[in-house]
């Protein structure tokens, strides 16, 4: 299964929706997309993982480097995730403390437009 990525603008945030599997083969595609988005705009980035069936540490690494990149720009990355399998990966690695994780895109976009921590 390939990884499919779609971007859209929503209330001042960029929404990147991922569908498929994020692993060592597909993570470079996600990394490239995040790098491109960071170079185009400093709007906060909401990454929607609701369509993601599989996420491994390679994918986590890409998300963490994306977060650092956006924060360096004075912006932020927020995640949308409710699937237990996906949340489990963040919980085991302690990354629930690092990322702002929301149940819906609406919640994440709303949080992105509010004051940042």
């Amino acid at each position: 299964m390939d990884l499919r990525l779609e971007t859209s603008d929503r209330d001042g945030a960029t929404v990147l929706s991922a569908h498929g599997e994020i692993d060592v083969a597909t993570a470079p595609q996600l990394r490239q997309q995040i790098v491109e988005l960071a170079s185009e705009s400093s709007a906060p980035l909401v990454i929607d993982l609701e369509g993601v069936d599989f996420l491994d540490s390679t994918g986590l690494g890409v998300l963490v480097s994306g977060l650092k990149r956006f924060r360096t720009l004075g912006s932020d990355v927020l995640l949308v995730a409710t699937r237990p399998r996906i949340l489990k990966v963040f919980e085991i690695t302690g990354l629930t403390q690092v990322f702002s994780i929301h149940p819906t895109v609406e919640d994440a976009v709303s949080a992105a437009s509010g004051p940042r921590p």
Binding site: M1, E21, D23, V24, A25, F54, D56, S57, T58, L60, G61, R85, V89, I92, T93
Partner: protein, 128 residues
């Protein structure tokens, strides 16, 4: 319950695009056991994927060799010539592997080195 079965060996090019194939096959084999529920199978799939990703990074032009053995009380996956210990690069991967399977060992056997992942099975119909 039957005795240990002969191992199922998988050998594929050590390239990122083959890691998915390995986790699909290992997942299907593990799912065929009635004593491993879906959640445990998914845990194993992710752990195997992590181990294979590290092995591919160590042997970019070689072969990726994985063996699955069905013990009566466990499903065992050996990833050959893979990582031996957590490194800076493998830190997250090892954190996941250790959390997702019951036992992780580095086995030196017959001149080869393997990372062995064991998932202990629950009895299918209780202990009685």
């Amino acid at each position: 319950m039957s005795d240990a079965q002969p191992p199922v060996d998988l050998e594929v090019p050590a390239r990122p695009e083959y890691v998915r194939l390995v986790r699909l096959v290992v997942g299907a084999l593990a799912a065929s056991r009635r004593d491993l529920d879906d959640d445990r199978v998914e845990d194993l799939r992710l752990a195997v994927s992590e181990a294979c990703t590290l092995a591919v990074a160590e042997a970019p032009n070689g072969r990726l060799h994985v063996a699955c053995t069905e013990d009566p009380d466990a499903f065992v996956v050996d990833v050959f010539d893979g990582p031996v210990d957590s490194t800076e690069d493998g830190g997250l991967a090892f954190a996941l592997i250790r959390a997702l399977v019951d036992e992780v060992d580095v086995v030196q056997e017959g001149g080869s080195r393997r990372l062995r992942l064991r998932v202990i099975s629950a009895p299918a119909h209780g202990w009685g």
